[in-house]
């Protein structure tokens, strides 16, 4: 008597699997990519320079990522998402879909644990100066700075995301920092 193999009802099994596959893959997508929402937003926020556009770009990027998910190799999900975010941001900037204008500086987010109000206000001045100088940079310099200093990615990783050789990343960072040094020197407070 033949043993009753688990594949006795291949149809039932494959039907059940195909029903589950949608939920499974979207749960997997959420698990892989939602943890990088802050990184996605931060990059978009610096590239678009205002909160509204950054949110729209992030939403569109997640939808693009979702549609392309089947082609995702399964490694480096943050980098993969950031690549989509920067491409979407640059498309928006190029097509002039940006609403422009800078979002007001949000004071409350900058209050540090330091109780001394004078120190706090100096800190705020400095933060403002740094943020201002970064916003003045051309978008591809700004992008290199954010990916390097905030996401702590290597030159090679940044090169992959931005689609330029590592040597270009190196020179963009060097020029971006030189400009920042110049801009900060011009700001009211000495940084040291």
């Amino acid at each position: 008597m033949p043993a009753l193999a688990p594949t006795a009802y291949p149809d039932a099994i494959s039907i059940a699997e195909s029903c589950m596959s949608t939920t499974k893959s979207s749960a997997e997508f959420d698990r892989k990519f939602l943890p990088h929402l802050d990184a996605a937003y931060n990059l978009a926020r610096f590239l678009m320079r205002n909160a509204h556009d950054a949110e729209d770009v992030v939403q569109e990027s997640y939808l693009r990522a979702f549609r392309a998910f089947s082609g995702f190799r399964g490694e480096g999900s943050r980098q993969w998402l950031l690549t989509i975010v920067r491409n979407t941001s640059f498309t928006w900037l190029r097509d002039n879909r940006s609403r422009g204008g800078h979002t007001e500086y949000q004071e409350e987010l900058h209050v540090s644990g330091d109780a001394n109000p004078e120190t706090q206000s100096i800190r705020r001045e400095r933060s403002r100066a740094v943020e201002h100088c970064v916003e003045q940079l051309p978008a591809d310099f700004r992008e290199a700075i954010v990916l390097r200093e905030m996401e702590e990615l290597s030159y090679r990783e940044i090169a992959e995301i931005t689609g330029v050789p590592a040597g270009t990343v190196m020179s963009r960072l060097a020029r971006a920092r030189a400009r920042l040094a110049e801009c900060l020197k011009g700001s009211a407070h000495d940084l040291r």
């Binding site: 949608t22 939602l34 992030v58 569109e60 933060s127 960072l173 920092r177 920042l180």
Partner: protein, 248 residues
């Protein structure tokens, strides 16, 4: 190493991007070269300033919900596309047959284009149902119309149809085919009707009638604007609604 060799490497040295041997050579030079030392210090203080002072922008809480509901909307549409897979295969077969017969590819392109716009409108409508708030909430056409000023490069006609049983609820901005379009929102009992409006020279209009997954779309052109009403309302009532808006 000379200054000219060392200077381009200073950033990479600070970022830990050059190997140990090269790093040692750069360091040795910097130690004996005041000009390079000044430059290295400048790079160091810029890096410190950025790391200490640049604020990491955290995603606002509502963005997470917004992204999730957009994803669920996309998933829903993808699922429904899979359910009607045989239609896609039918369409591919039809394209092949027509191409073999030498039908003009341009006609197919135009048709596909219209279909794509219809799909995009449906997905925008579903996304909105899944949780996007209205950008302007008002039943007064005199509030809704001026709200679009400066947000879309045209001035959409806004008609209140409360008297006819289709109260205006408000409006929002949407993106269709890479363009910003106006979306006017009307109610009908518990149903919601989105009316997408854009200038007819801006982009393709969807087919005049389109139906999928229980959603109906009616599209028409009036005064050089393309109007498309999308809703899960039944086709007859949506037709009534459209004919009210079509009135001169």
């Amino acid at each position: 190493m000379t200054c000219d060799e060392v200077k381009p490497l200073l950033n990479a040295r600070m970022d830990g991007e050059i190997d140990a041997i090269e790093s040692a050579a750069v360091d040795a030079h910097v130690e004996s070269c005041p000009s390079c030392a000044v430059e290295m210090e400048a790079i160091g203080s810029v890096r410190a300033a950025i790391r200490d002072e640049m604020r990491y922008h955290q995603a606002p809480a509502h963005l997470r919900e917004r992204v999730k509901s957009a994803l669920r909307g996309a998933e829903y549409l993808e699922g429904s596309a899979r359910r009607t897979n045989w239609k896609t295969w039918g369409a591919i077969a039809a394209v092949l047959v027509l191409t073999v017969l030498g039908a003009t590819p341009f006609l197919m392109n135009a048709r596909n284009q219209r279909q794509l716009v219809a799909d995009e409108l449906l997905s925008a409508h579903v996304r909105a149902l899944l949780g996007r708030e209205l950008d302007v909430v008002s039943s007064d056409q005199h509030n809704v119309k001026p709200w679009f000023n400066g947000k879309v490069p045209f001035s959409p006609q806004v008609t209140d149809l409360s008297a006819e049983g289709f109260p205006l609820e408000g409006g929002r901005l949407d993106y269709v085919g890479g363009h910003r379009v106006a979306a006017l929102v009307y109610g009908r009992r518990l149903h919601r009707i989105d009316v997408f409006v854009w200038p007819s020279d801006r982009q393709t209009a969807p087919p005049s009638h389109f139906e999928r997954d229980g959603y109906n779309q009616i599209s028409w052109t009036k005064n050089e604007f393309v109007f498309t009403a999308v809703s899960d309302l039944n086709a007859a009532e949506l037709n009534t609604f459209a004919s009210l808006l079509k009135r001169p």
